[in-house]
Protein backbone atom coordinates (compact mmCIF):
# COMPACT_ATOMS: atom_id res chain seq x y z
CA UNK A 1 0.00 0.00 0.00
CA UNK A 2 2.71 2.42 1.03
CA UNK A 3 4.75 1.38 -1.98
CA UNK A 4 2.11 2.15 -4.57
CA UNK A 5 1.40 5.59 -3.18
CA UNK A 6 5.10 6.34 -3.37
CA UNK A 7 5.16 5.33 -7.02
CA UNK A 8 2.07 7.39 -7.75
CA UNK A 9 3.70 10.30 -6.11
CA UNK A 10 6.76 9.93 -8.26
CA UNK A 11 4.78 9.88 -11.45
CA UNK A 12 2.85 12.96 -10.43
CA UNK A 13 6.06 14.75 -9.74
CA UNK A 14 7.54 13.94 -13.08
CA UNK A 15 4.61 14.75 -15.29
CA UNK A 16 4.29 18.48 -14.70
CA UNK A 17 7.97 18.86 -15.44
CA UNK A 18 7.67 17.55 -18.97
CA UNK A 19 4.48 19.54 -19.46
CA UNK A 20 6.18 22.74 -18.42
CA UNK A 21 8.98 22.09 -20.87
CA UNK A 22 6.46 21.55 -23.67
CA UNK A 23 4.65 24.78 -22.87
CA UNK A 24 7.87 26.71 -22.97
CA UNK A 25 8.58 25.11 -26.32
CA UNK A 26 5.29 26.28 -27.76
CA UNK A 27 5.26 29.83 -26.43
CA UNK A 28 8.87 30.78 -26.71
CA UNK A 29 10.67 30.61 -29.99
CA UNK A 30 14.25 29.53 -29.94
CA UNK A 31 16.82 31.85 -31.42
CA UNK A 32 17.02 29.74 -34.55
CA UNK A 33 13.27 29.88 -35.08
CA UNK A 34 13.29 33.63 -34.62
CA UNK A 35 16.10 34.00 -37.11
CA UNK A 36 14.24 31.86 -39.61
CA UNK A 37 11.05 33.87 -39.31
CA UNK A 38 13.00 37.10 -39.67
CA UNK A 39 14.89 35.98 -42.74
CA UNK A 40 11.51 35.28 -44.25
CA UNK A 41 10.43 38.86 -43.42
CA UNK A 42 13.44 41.09 -43.89
CA UNK A 43 11.51 44.34 -43.25
CA UNK A 44 10.68 43.17 -39.73
CA UNK A 45 14.31 42.30 -39.12
CA UNK A 46 15.44 45.70 -40.37
CA UNK A 47 12.90 47.48 -38.18
CA UNK A 48 13.99 45.46 -35.15
CA UNK A 49 17.63 46.33 -35.81
CA UNK A 50 16.67 50.01 -36.16
CA UNK A 51 14.73 49.94 -32.88
CA UNK A 52 17.59 48.36 -30.98
CA UNK A 53 20.10 50.59 -32.77
CA UNK A 54 18.23 53.75 -31.71
CA UNK A 55 18.21 52.65 -28.08
CA UNK A 56 21.93 51.89 -28.30
CA UNK A 57 22.56 55.35 -29.80
CA UNK A 58 20.60 57.05 -27.02
CA UNK A 59 22.52 55.19 -24.31
CA UNK A 60 25.84 55.67 -26.07
CA UNK A 61 25.30 59.44 -26.36
CA UNK A 62 24.57 59.71 -22.65
CA UNK A 63 27.53 57.57 -21.64
CA UNK A 64 29.79 59.46 -24.02
CA UNK A 65 28.75 62.88 -22.66
CA UNK A 66 29.23 61.84 -19.04
CA UNK A 67 32.48 59.97 -19.65
CA UNK A 68 33.95 62.75 -21.79
CA UNK A 69 33.20 65.45 -19.22
CA UNK A 70 34.42 63.33 -16.29
CA UNK A 71 37.61 62.10 -17.99
CA UNK A 72 38.60 65.56 -19.18
CA UNK A 73 37.28 67.40 -16.16
CA UNK A 74 38.47 65.47 -13.14
CA UNK A 75 42.20 66.15 -13.80
CA UNK A 76 41.32 69.86 -13.86
CA UNK A 77 39.88 69.81 -10.35
CA UNK A 78 42.31 71.46 -7.99
CA UNK A 79 42.17 73.10 -4.58
CA UNK A 80 42.74 76.54 -6.04
CA UNK A 81 39.34 76.22 -7.72
CA UNK A 82 37.76 76.11 -4.26
CA UNK A 83 39.35 79.22 -2.72
CA UNK A 84 36.97 81.52 -0.93
CA UNK A 85 37.50 84.46 -3.26
CA UNK A 86 37.37 84.57 -7.02
CA UNK A 87 40.01 86.31 -9.07
CA UNK A 88 40.98 85.94 -12.69
CA UNK A 89 44.02 83.89 -11.72
CA UNK A 90 42.42 81.14 -9.66
CA UNK A 91 38.94 81.46 -11.27
CA UNK A 92 37.58 79.88 -8.10
CA UNK A 93 34.07 78.43 -8.22
CA UNK A 94 33.52 78.66 -4.47
CA UNK A 95 31.52 81.92 -4.55
CA UNK A 96 29.41 80.45 -7.34
CA UNK A 97 28.77 77.30 -5.30
CA UNK A 98 27.71 79.33 -2.27
CA UNK A 99 25.48 81.50 -4.47
CA UNK A 100 23.92 78.38 -5.99
CA UNK A 101 23.06 77.05 -2.53
CA UNK A 102 21.59 80.41 -1.46
CA UNK A 103 19.65 80.69 -4.72
CA UNK A 104 18.27 77.17 -4.38
CA UNK A 105 17.12 77.66 -0.79
CA UNK A 106 15.59 81.05 -1.56
CA UNK A 107 13.71 79.90 -4.67
CA UNK A 108 12.41 76.82 -2.83
CA UNK A 109 11.30 78.91 0.17
CA UNK A 110 9.28 81.13 -2.16
CA UNK A 111 7.91 78.45 -4.45
CA UNK A 112 7.28 75.34 -2.33
CA UNK A 113 4.59 76.79 0.00
CA UNK A 114 2.61 78.18 -2.94
CA UNK A 115 3.09 75.04 -5.00
CA UNK A 116 1.93 72.74 -2.21
CA UNK A 117 -0.92 75.09 -1.29
CA UNK A 118 -2.10 75.16 -4.90
CA UNK A 119 -1.93 71.36 -5.19
CA UNK A 120 -3.84 70.97 -1.90
CA UNK A 121 -6.57 73.23 -3.25
CA UNK A 122 -6.77 71.37 -6.57
CA UNK A 123 -6.92 67.90 -5.00
CA UNK A 124 -8.57 68.38 -1.60
CA UNK A 125 -10.78 71.45 -1.80
CA UNK A 126 -11.89 72.05 -5.38
CA UNK A 127 -15.15 70.45 -6.36
CA UNK A 128 -15.69 68.59 -9.59
CA UNK A 129 -16.27 70.87 -12.57
CA UNK A 130 -14.84 73.90 -10.77
CA UNK A 131 -13.93 76.50 -13.40
CA UNK A 132 -10.96 77.82 -11.42
CA UNK A 133 -9.34 74.38 -11.53
CA UNK A 134 -9.41 74.35 -15.31
CA UNK A 135 -7.80 77.79 -15.51
CA UNK A 136 -5.14 76.88 -12.94
CA UNK A 137 -4.30 73.69 -14.86
CA UNK A 138 -4.02 75.56 -18.18
CA UNK A 139 -1.82 78.30 -16.70
CA UNK A 140 0.40 75.75 -14.95
CA UNK A 141 0.80 73.91 -18.26
CA UNK A 142 1.65 77.21 -19.96
CA UNK A 143 4.29 77.93 -17.31
CA UNK A 144 5.84 74.50 -17.95
CA UNK A 145 6.23 75.28 -21.63
CA UNK A 146 7.75 78.76 -21.30
CA UNK A 147 11.48 78.67 -22.09
CA UNK A 148 13.88 79.91 -19.45
CA UNK A 149 15.03 82.90 -21.51
CA UNK A 150 11.46 84.25 -21.48
CA UNK A 151 11.43 83.88 -17.69
CA UNK A 152 14.72 85.74 -17.64
CA UNK A 153 13.29 88.52 -19.79
CA UNK A 154 10.23 88.79 -17.56
CA UNK A 155 12.36 88.78 -14.40
CA UNK A 156 14.46 91.57 -15.86
CA UNK A 157 11.40 93.64 -16.79
CA UNK A 158 9.45 93.04 -13.58
CA UNK A 159 11.75 92.34 -10.64
CA UNK A 160 14.89 94.12 -11.80
CA UNK A 161 13.39 97.18 -13.54
CA UNK A 162 9.81 97.64 -12.34
CA UNK A 163 10.35 96.74 -8.67
CA UNK A 164 13.82 98.33 -8.81
CA UNK A 165 15.58 95.36 -7.16
CA UNK A 166 18.40 95.80 -9.70
CA UNK A 167 20.48 92.75 -10.65
CA UNK A 168 20.19 90.75 -7.45
CA UNK A 169 20.00 87.27 -6.01
CA UNK A 170 16.48 88.09 -4.87
CA UNK A 171 15.30 88.94 -8.39
CA UNK A 172 16.91 85.72 -9.64
CA UNK A 173 15.30 83.65 -6.89
CA UNK A 174 11.82 85.03 -7.59
CA UNK A 175 12.25 84.38 -11.31
CA UNK A 176 13.32 80.78 -10.64
CA UNK A 177 10.50 80.38 -8.10
CA UNK A 178 7.95 81.05 -10.84
CA UNK A 179 9.80 78.68 -13.14
CA UNK A 180 9.70 75.73 -10.72
CA UNK A 181 6.16 76.41 -9.47
CA UNK A 182 4.51 74.07 -12.03
CA UNK A 183 7.01 71.29 -11.20
CA UNK A 184 6.18 71.46 -7.48
CA UNK A 185 2.46 71.74 -8.19
CA UNK A 186 2.34 68.73 -10.50
CA UNK A 187 4.38 66.36 -8.35
CA UNK A 188 2.52 67.38 -5.19
CA UNK A 189 -0.81 66.90 -6.96
CA UNK A 190 0.21 63.39 -7.99
CA UNK A 191 1.43 62.60 -4.48
CA UNK A 192 -1.82 63.84 -2.92
CA UNK A 193 -3.95 61.86 -5.34
CA UNK A 194 -1.99 58.72 -4.43
CA UNK A 195 -3.07 59.03 -0.76
CA UNK A 196 -5.91 56.54 -0.27
CA UNK A 197 -9.35 57.99 0.45
CA UNK A 198 -9.63 55.82 3.54
CA UNK A 199 -7.06 58.08 5.24
CA UNK A 200 -9.32 61.08 4.69
CA UNK A 201 -12.45 59.18 5.76
CA UNK A 202 -10.70 57.91 8.87
CA UNK A 203 -9.58 61.37 9.86
CA UNK A 204 -13.01 62.92 9.27
CA UNK A 205 -14.61 60.04 11.13
CA UNK A 206 -12.50 60.81 14.18
CA UNK A 207 -13.82 64.36 14.10
CA UNK A 208 -10.91 66.21 12.56
CA UNK A 209 -11.66 69.22 10.39
CA UNK A 210 -10.62 69.56 6.79
CA UNK A 211 -7.53 71.66 7.51
CA UNK A 212 -6.36 69.31 10.25
CA UNK A 213 -6.88 66.31 8.00
CA UNK A 214 -4.81 67.93 5.27
CA UNK A 215 -1.94 68.94 7.53
CA UNK A 216 -1.77 66.00 9.95
CA UNK A 217 -2.79 63.10 7.75
CA UNK A 218 -2.59 63.78 4.02
CA UNK A 219 0.52 65.94 3.68
CA UNK A 220 2.71 63.69 5.88
CA UNK A 221 1.79 60.59 3.91
CA UNK A 222 2.34 62.43 0.61
CA UNK A 223 5.72 63.72 1.78
CA UNK A 224 8.00 61.37 -0.22
CA UNK A 225 6.25 62.31 -3.47
CA UNK A 226 6.50 66.01 -2.66
CA UNK A 227 10.17 65.55 -1.79
CA UNK A 228 11.00 63.94 -5.12
CA UNK A 229 9.34 66.92 -6.83
CA UNK A 230 11.44 69.30 -4.75
CA UNK A 231 14.60 67.42 -5.74
CA UNK A 232 13.55 67.69 -9.39
CA UNK A 233 13.14 71.43 -8.89
CA UNK A 234 16.59 71.69 -7.27
CA UNK A 235 18.06 70.05 -10.36
CA UNK A 236 16.45 72.70 -12.55
CA UNK A 237 17.63 75.57 -10.35
CA UNK A 238 21.22 74.31 -10.24
CA UNK A 239 21.36 73.90 -14.02
CA UNK A 240 19.64 77.16 -14.94
CA UNK A 241 21.54 79.83 -16.83
CA UNK A 242 19.38 81.80 -19.25
CA UNK A 243 16.86 82.90 -16.63
CA UNK A 244 19.62 84.20 -14.33
CA UNK A 245 21.92 86.12 -16.69
CA UNK A 246 19.82 89.29 -16.58
CA UNK A 247 18.10 88.85 -13.22
CA UNK A 248 20.84 87.75 -10.81
CA UNK A 249 23.70 88.91 -13.00
CA UNK A 250 27.19 87.52 -13.30
CA UNK A 251 29.24 88.99 -10.42
CA UNK A 252 31.54 86.22 -9.12
CA UNK A 253 31.22 87.03 -5.42
CA UNK A 254 28.90 86.43 -2.47
CA UNK A 255 27.53 89.83 -1.51
CA UNK A 256 24.11 89.34 -0.03
CA UNK A 257 20.59 88.99 -1.34
CA UNK A 258 20.21 92.45 -2.81
CA UNK A 259 23.37 92.31 -4.89
CA UNK A 260 24.27 90.44 -8.01
CA UNK A 261 25.82 86.99 -7.79
CA UNK A 262 26.46 84.24 -10.30
CA UNK A 263 25.46 80.64 -9.73
CA UNK A 264 27.52 77.66 -10.84
CA UNK A 265 25.84 77.24 -14.23
CA UNK A 266 26.22 80.94 -15.03
CA UNK A 267 29.82 80.71 -13.86
CA UNK A 268 30.42 77.89 -16.27
CA UNK A 269 28.83 79.77 -19.17
CA UNK A 270 30.96 82.85 -18.52
CA UNK A 271 34.14 80.78 -18.25
CA UNK A 272 33.53 78.84 -21.44
CA UNK A 273 32.35 81.83 -23.46
CA UNK A 274 35.52 83.75 -22.60
CA UNK A 275 37.46 80.85 -24.06
CA UNK A 276 40.51 81.38 -21.86
CA UNK A 277 39.48 79.20 -18.95
CA UNK A 278 38.76 75.81 -20.48
CA UNK A 279 40.33 73.94 -17.55
CA UNK A 280 38.15 75.56 -14.88
CA UNK A 281 35.15 75.24 -17.23
CA UNK A 282 35.73 71.48 -17.47
CA UNK A 283 36.04 71.27 -13.69
CA UNK A 284 32.81 73.23 -13.22
CA UNK A 285 31.07 70.93 -15.68
CA UNK A 286 32.15 67.96 -13.53
CA UNK A 287 30.70 69.53 -10.39
CA UNK A 288 27.43 70.37 -12.18
CA UNK A 289 27.15 66.86 -13.62
CA UNK A 290 27.83 65.23 -10.25
CA UNK A 291 25.18 67.38 -8.56
CA UNK A 292 22.64 66.49 -11.24
CA UNK A 293 23.55 62.79 -11.02
CA UNK A 294 23.08 62.84 -7.23
CA UNK A 295 19.77 64.67 -7.56
CA UNK A 296 18.49 62.11 -10.08
CA UNK A 297 19.67 59.25 -7.90
CA UNK A 298 18.01 60.73 -4.81
CA UNK A 299 14.75 61.36 -6.64
CA UNK A 300 14.59 57.83 -8.06
CA UNK A 301 15.49 56.27 -4.68
CA UNK A 302 12.61 58.11 -3.06
CA UNK A 303 10.31 57.12 -5.89
CA UNK A 304 11.37 53.48 -5.49
CA UNK A 305 10.67 53.53 -1.75
CA UNK A 306 7.33 55.10 -2.57
CA UNK A 307 6.25 52.30 -4.90
CA UNK A 308 7.51 49.66 -2.46
CA UNK A 309 5.50 51.26 0.36
CA UNK A 310 2.34 50.88 -1.66
Amino acid sequence: MADTTAVDFNIQEEEPETNAADIVGINKQTFGQKLKSYTRKPTSLIMLILVIGAAVITLAVLIFIIAYILINGVPNLSWSLFRWNYNSENSSMMPAIINTVIMTILALLISVPFGIGAAVYLVEYAKRGNKLVGIVRITAETLTGIPSIVYGLFGMLFFVTQLKWRLSMLAGAFTLAIMILPVIMRTTEEALMAVPDSYREGSFGLGAGKFRTVFKIILPSAMPGILSGVILAIGRIVGETAALMYTAGTVPAVQGLLSSGRTLAVHMYVLSSEGLYMGPAYATAVILLVVVLLMNLGSSLIAKRLTKGN
Binding site: M47, A54, L59, A118, E124, I149, V150, I178, P182, G209
Partner: protein
Protein backbone atom coordinates in the same frame (compact mmCIF):
# COMPACT_ATOMS: atom_id res chain seq x y z
CA UNK B 1 -23.51 78.45 23.92
CA UNK B 2 -19.77 78.02 24.31
CA UNK B 3 -19.84 74.97 22.07
CA UNK B 4 -21.63 76.94 19.40
CA UNK B 5 -19.07 79.74 19.52
CA UNK B 6 -16.31 77.18 19.22
CA UNK B 7 -17.95 75.56 16.20
CA UNK B 8 -18.47 78.96 14.59
CA UNK B 9 -14.83 79.86 15.17
CA UNK B 10 -13.78 76.58 13.62
CA UNK B 11 -15.95 77.24 10.60
CA UNK B 12 -14.38 80.68 10.14
CA UNK B 13 -10.90 79.17 10.49
CA UNK B 14 -11.66 76.49 7.90
CA UNK B 15 -13.01 79.13 5.53
CA UNK B 16 -9.89 81.27 5.94
CA UNK B 17 -7.63 78.30 5.27
CA UNK B 18 -9.60 77.42 2.16
CA UNK B 19 -9.21 80.99 0.90
CA UNK B 20 -5.45 80.80 1.54
CA UNK B 21 -5.26 77.61 -0.53
CA UNK B 22 -7.31 79.25 -3.29
CA UNK B 23 -4.88 82.17 -3.31
CA UNK B 24 -1.98 79.72 -3.65
CA UNK B 25 -3.73 78.12 -6.60
CA UNK B 26 -4.19 81.53 -8.18
CA UNK B 27 -0.42 82.10 -8.10
CA UNK B 28 0.12 80.37 -11.42
CA UNK B 29 -2.68 82.45 -12.98
CA UNK B 30 -1.08 85.59 -11.58
CA UNK B 31 2.34 84.54 -12.89
CA UNK B 32 1.08 83.92 -16.43
CA UNK B 33 -0.89 87.18 -16.37
CA UNK B 34 2.16 89.16 -15.20
CA UNK B 35 4.44 87.55 -17.77
CA UNK B 36 2.01 88.27 -20.61
CA UNK B 37 1.36 91.81 -19.39
CA UNK B 38 5.00 92.83 -18.98
CA UNK B 39 6.27 91.19 -22.16
CA UNK B 40 3.50 92.61 -24.32
CA UNK B 41 3.40 96.13 -22.86
CA UNK B 42 7.19 96.48 -23.04
CA UNK B 43 7.64 94.70 -26.35
CA UNK B 44 4.80 95.81 -28.59
CA UNK B 45 5.54 99.60 -28.47
CA UNK B 46 9.07 98.89 -29.73
CA UNK B 47 7.66 96.68 -32.45
CA UNK B 48 5.23 99.44 -33.45
CA UNK B 49 8.03 102.04 -33.53
CA UNK B 50 10.09 99.90 -35.87
CA UNK B 51 7.05 98.85 -37.87
CA UNK B 52 5.68 95.36 -37.47
CA UNK B 53 6.40 94.26 -41.04
CA UNK B 54 9.84 95.84 -41.05
CA UNK B 55 10.55 94.09 -37.76
CA UNK B 56 9.23 90.63 -38.63
CA UNK B 57 10.13 90.70 -42.32
CA UNK B 58 13.35 92.70 -42.28
CA UNK B 59 16.40 90.78 -43.39
CA UNK B 60 18.97 93.11 -41.82
CA UNK B 61 19.80 93.42 -38.13
CA UNK B 62 22.13 96.35 -37.53
CA UNK B 63 21.48 97.92 -34.11
CA UNK B 64 24.25 100.46 -34.78
CA UNK B 65 22.22 101.90 -37.67
CA UNK B 66 18.86 101.41 -35.93
CA UNK B 67 17.86 98.70 -38.42
CA UNK B 68 16.01 95.91 -36.69
CA UNK B 69 14.82 93.04 -38.86
CA UNK B 70 14.50 89.67 -37.14
CA UNK B 71 13.64 87.49 -40.13
CA UNK B 72 17.16 85.94 -40.05
CA UNK B 73 16.63 84.96 -36.42
CA UNK B 74 13.11 83.64 -37.01
CA UNK B 75 14.37 81.52 -39.89
CA UNK B 76 17.40 80.52 -37.81
CA UNK B 77 15.16 79.23 -35.01
CA UNK B 78 12.84 77.45 -37.46
CA UNK B 79 15.68 75.78 -39.40
CA UNK B 80 17.58 74.68 -36.30
CA UNK B 81 14.39 73.31 -34.73
CA UNK B 82 13.33 71.55 -37.93
CA UNK B 83 16.69 69.89 -38.39
CA UNK B 84 16.84 68.95 -34.71
CA UNK B 85 13.50 67.17 -35.20
CA UNK B 86 14.86 65.31 -38.22
CA UNK B 87 17.65 64.00 -35.99
CA UNK B 88 15.80 63.64 -32.69
CA UNK B 89 12.39 62.28 -33.66
CA UNK B 90 13.43 59.01 -35.39
CA UNK B 91 15.97 58.12 -32.69
CA UNK B 92 13.63 59.18 -29.88
CA UNK B 93 10.60 57.39 -31.28
CA UNK B 94 12.49 54.15 -31.99
CA UNK B 95 14.04 54.26 -28.51
CA UNK B 96 10.56 54.74 -27.04
CA UNK B 97 9.33 51.70 -29.01
CA UNK B 98 12.27 49.71 -27.70
CA UNK B 99 11.58 50.75 -24.11
CA UNK B 100 7.85 50.12 -24.27
CA UNK B 101 7.81 46.84 -26.21
CA UNK B 102 11.18 45.15 -26.68
CA UNK B 103 13.20 46.01 -23.59
CA UNK B 104 13.93 43.18 -21.11
CA UNK B 105 12.85 44.15 -17.60
CA UNK B 106 16.36 44.13 -16.21
CA UNK B 107 17.66 46.37 -18.97
CA UNK B 108 14.71 48.72 -18.49
CA UNK B 109 15.90 49.47 -14.98
CA UNK B 110 19.05 50.91 -16.56
CA UNK B 111 17.56 52.57 -19.64
CA UNK B 112 14.78 54.47 -17.88
CA UNK B 113 17.04 56.30 -15.37
CA UNK B 114 19.47 56.96 -18.22
CA UNK B 115 16.77 58.79 -20.18
CA UNK B 116 15.78 60.73 -17.05
CA UNK B 117 19.41 61.68 -16.59
CA UNK B 118 19.61 62.87 -20.18
CA UNK B 119 16.74 65.23 -19.33
CA UNK B 120 18.48 66.41 -16.18
CA UNK B 121 21.81 67.46 -17.67
CA UNK B 122 21.94 71.30 -17.60
CA UNK B 123 21.83 73.01 -20.99
CA UNK B 124 25.09 74.81 -20.33
CA UNK B 125 26.81 71.43 -19.93
CA UNK B 126 25.25 70.29 -23.23
CA UNK B 127 26.49 73.50 -24.82
CA UNK B 128 29.97 72.95 -23.48
CA UNK B 129 29.96 69.38 -24.75
CA UNK B 130 28.85 70.65 -28.16
CA UNK B 131 31.61 73.22 -28.12
CA UNK B 132 34.43 70.80 -27.36
CA UNK B 133 33.18 67.70 -29.22
CA UNK B 134 30.60 68.38 -31.94
CA UNK B 135 32.09 71.64 -33.22
CA UNK B 136 35.51 70.08 -34.04
CA UNK B 137 33.79 67.13 -35.74
CA UNK B 138 31.68 69.44 -37.91
CA UNK B 139 34.77 71.56 -38.61
CA UNK B 140 36.58 68.48 -39.86
CA UNK B 141 33.57 67.63 -42.00
CA UNK B 142 33.51 71.17 -43.40
CA UNK B 143 37.20 71.00 -44.26
CA UNK B 144 36.78 67.60 -45.85
CA UNK B 145 34.01 68.97 -48.04
CA UNK B 146 36.06 72.04 -48.86
CA UNK B 147 33.21 74.29 -47.73
CA UNK B 148 33.44 77.57 -45.87
CA UNK B 149 32.79 77.55 -42.13
CA UNK B 150 34.57 76.83 -38.88
CA UNK B 151 32.38 74.24 -37.23
CA UNK B 152 29.98 76.56 -35.41
CA UNK B 153 26.94 76.13 -37.60
CA UNK B 154 23.30 75.33 -38.10
CA UNK B 155 24.17 71.63 -38.33
CA UNK B 156 26.09 71.67 -35.03
CA UNK B 157 23.24 73.38 -33.21
CA UNK B 158 20.74 70.96 -34.75
CA UNK B 159 22.72 67.87 -33.72
CA UNK B 160 23.02 69.17 -30.17
CA UNK B 161 19.33 70.10 -29.97
CA UNK B 162 18.44 66.72 -31.48
CA UNK B 163 20.16 65.09 -28.50
CA UNK B 164 18.57 67.52 -26.04
CA UNK B 165 14.99 66.84 -27.18
CA UNK B 166 15.46 63.04 -27.03
CA UNK B 167 14.29 62.60 -23.41
CA UNK B 168 11.14 64.68 -24.00
CA UNK B 169 10.17 62.69 -27.10
CA UNK B 170 11.12 59.35 -25.54
CA UNK B 171 9.21 59.72 -22.28
CA UNK B 172 6.00 61.10 -23.82
CA UNK B 173 6.00 58.59 -26.71
CA UNK B 174 6.76 55.69 -24.38
CA UNK B 175 3.81 56.59 -22.17
CA UNK B 176 1.60 56.84 -25.27
CA UNK B 177 2.71 53.43 -26.59
CA UNK B 178 2.20 51.81 -23.18
CA UNK B 179 -1.31 53.25 -23.00
CA UNK B 180 -2.39 51.25 -26.07
CA UNK B 181 -4.45 48.23 -24.94
CA UNK B 182 -2.54 44.94 -25.09
CA UNK B 183 -5.38 43.40 -27.12
CA UNK B 184 -4.30 45.41 -30.20
CA UNK B 185 -0.94 43.69 -30.09
CA UNK B 186 -2.36 40.27 -29.34
CA UNK B 187 -4.98 40.61 -32.04
CA UNK B 188 -2.32 41.38 -34.60
CA UNK B 189 -0.21 38.44 -33.42
CA UNK B 190 -3.24 36.20 -33.66
CA UNK B 191 -3.74 37.24 -37.27
CA UNK B 192 -0.28 35.94 -38.01
CA UNK B 193 1.83 39.08 -37.96
CA UNK B 194 5.20 38.80 -36.29
CA UNK B 195 5.92 40.84 -33.13
CA UNK B 196 7.80 43.66 -34.88
CA UNK B 197 5.12 44.08 -37.52
CA UNK B 198 2.41 44.00 -34.86
CA UNK B 199 4.07 46.81 -32.94
CA UNK B 200 4.59 48.99 -36.00
CA UNK B 201 1.25 48.33 -37.72
CA UNK B 202 -1.16 47.85 -34.81
CA UNK B 203 0.23 49.48 -31.68
CA UNK B 204 2.00 52.51 -33.13
CA UNK B 205 -0.94 53.93 -35.14
CA UNK B 206 -3.08 53.74 -31.99
CA UNK B 207 -0.48 55.79 -30.08
CA UNK B 208 -0.25 58.39 -32.86
CA UNK B 209 -1.67 61.42 -31.06
CA UNK B 210 0.36 60.81 -27.90
CA UNK B 211 3.52 60.59 -29.99
CA UNK B 212 2.47 63.78 -31.76
CA UNK B 213 2.15 65.50 -28.37
CA UNK B 214 5.67 64.39 -27.50
CA UNK B 215 7.04 65.81 -30.75
CA UNK B 216 5.25 69.12 -30.15
CA UNK B 217 6.79 69.31 -26.66
CA UNK B 218 10.15 68.62 -28.29
CA UNK B 219 9.58 71.52 -30.70
CA UNK B 220 8.88 73.79 -27.74
CA UNK B 221 12.03 72.70 -25.99
CA UNK B 222 14.17 73.11 -29.11
CA UNK B 223 12.86 76.54 -30.07
CA UNK B 224 13.23 77.85 -26.52
CA UNK B 225 16.69 76.45 -25.87
CA UNK B 226 19.17 79.26 -25.35
CA UNK B 227 22.53 78.63 -23.76
CA UNK B 228 23.43 75.42 -25.57
CA UNK B 229 22.57 76.98 -28.94
CA UNK B 230 24.56 80.16 -28.27
CA UNK B 231 27.65 78.11 -27.52
CA UNK B 232 27.64 76.21 -30.84
CA UNK B 233 25.66 78.16 -33.47
CA UNK B 234 28.04 80.99 -34.38
CA UNK B 235 25.40 83.68 -33.82
CA UNK B 236 26.03 85.97 -36.79
CA UNK B 237 22.77 87.84 -37.43
CA UNK B 238 22.58 87.21 -41.16
CA UNK B 239 20.14 85.17 -43.21
CA UNK B 240 20.99 81.45 -42.83
CA UNK B 241 23.06 80.48 -45.87
CA UNK B 242 23.69 76.80 -45.45
CA UNK B 243 24.00 73.82 -43.16
CA UNK B 244 27.64 74.47 -42.37
CA UNK B 245 27.33 78.24 -41.87
CA UNK B 246 26.69 80.03 -38.63
CA UNK B 247 23.17 80.97 -37.63
CA UNK B 248 21.55 83.06 -34.89
CA UNK B 249 18.30 82.05 -33.19
CA UNK B 250 15.70 84.27 -31.51
CA UNK B 251 16.85 83.14 -28.07
CA UNK B 252 20.50 83.83 -28.85
CA UNK B 253 19.64 87.30 -30.12
CA UNK B 254 18.17 88.24 -26.74
CA UNK B 255 20.96 86.90 -24.55
CA UNK B 256 23.90 88.12 -26.64
CA UNK B 257 22.82 91.74 -26.97
CA UNK B 258 20.70 92.41 -23.88
CA UNK B 259 23.79 93.10 -21.77
CA UNK B 260 24.60 96.39 -23.46
CA UNK B 261 21.39 97.33 -25.32
CA UNK B 262 19.84 100.79 -24.86
CA UNK B 263 16.57 102.46 -25.84
CA UNK B 264 15.10 101.22 -29.13
CA UNK B 265 17.68 98.42 -29.37
CA UNK B 266 16.56 97.15 -25.97
CA UNK B 267 12.92 97.41 -26.98
CA UNK B 268 13.69 95.49 -30.16
CA UNK B 269 15.25 92.71 -28.08
CA UNK B 270 12.23 92.56 -25.78
CA UNK B 271 10.06 92.46 -28.91
CA UNK B 272 12.18 89.48 -30.05
CA UNK B 273 11.22 87.86 -26.74
CA UNK B 274 7.56 88.60 -27.50
CA UNK B 275 7.86 86.85 -30.89
CA UNK B 276 9.45 83.84 -29.18
CA UNK B 277 6.72 83.88 -26.52
CA UNK B 278 4.00 83.92 -29.18
CA UNK B 279 5.67 80.96 -30.90
CA UNK B 280 5.64 79.09 -27.57
CA UNK B 281 2.00 79.98 -26.89
CA UNK B 282 1.03 78.61 -30.32
CA UNK B 283 3.02 75.42 -29.63
CA UNK B 284 1.34 75.07 -26.22
CA UNK B 285 -2.06 75.50 -27.86
CA UNK B 286 -1.26 72.78 -30.43
CA UNK B 287 -0.13 70.54 -27.58
CA UNK B 288 -3.33 70.92 -25.60
CA UNK B 289 -5.48 70.43 -28.72
CA UNK B 290 -3.66 67.19 -29.56
CA UNK B 291 -3.91 66.04 -25.95
CA UNK B 292 -7.60 66.80 -25.76
CA UNK B 293 -8.21 64.88 -28.97
CA UNK B 294 -6.36 61.99 -27.36
CA UNK B 295 -8.92 61.85 -24.58
Amino acid sequence: MKEEAKAARKRVFEKIMEIIFILCACMSILAVALICFFLFTKGIPGMAKIGIFKFLGGQVWKPGNDIYGILPMILGSVYVTGLALVIGVPIGLLTAIFMARFCPKKLYKVVKPAVDLLAGIPSVVYGFFGMVVIVPVVRALTDALGARGNGVSLLTAAILLGIMILPTIISVSEAAIRAVPESYYEGSLGLGADPVRSVFKAVLPAAKSGIMAGIILGVGRAIGETMAVIMVAGNNPAMPKGLLQGVRTLTANIVIEMGYAQDLHREALIATGVVLFVFILIINLCFSIVKRRDK
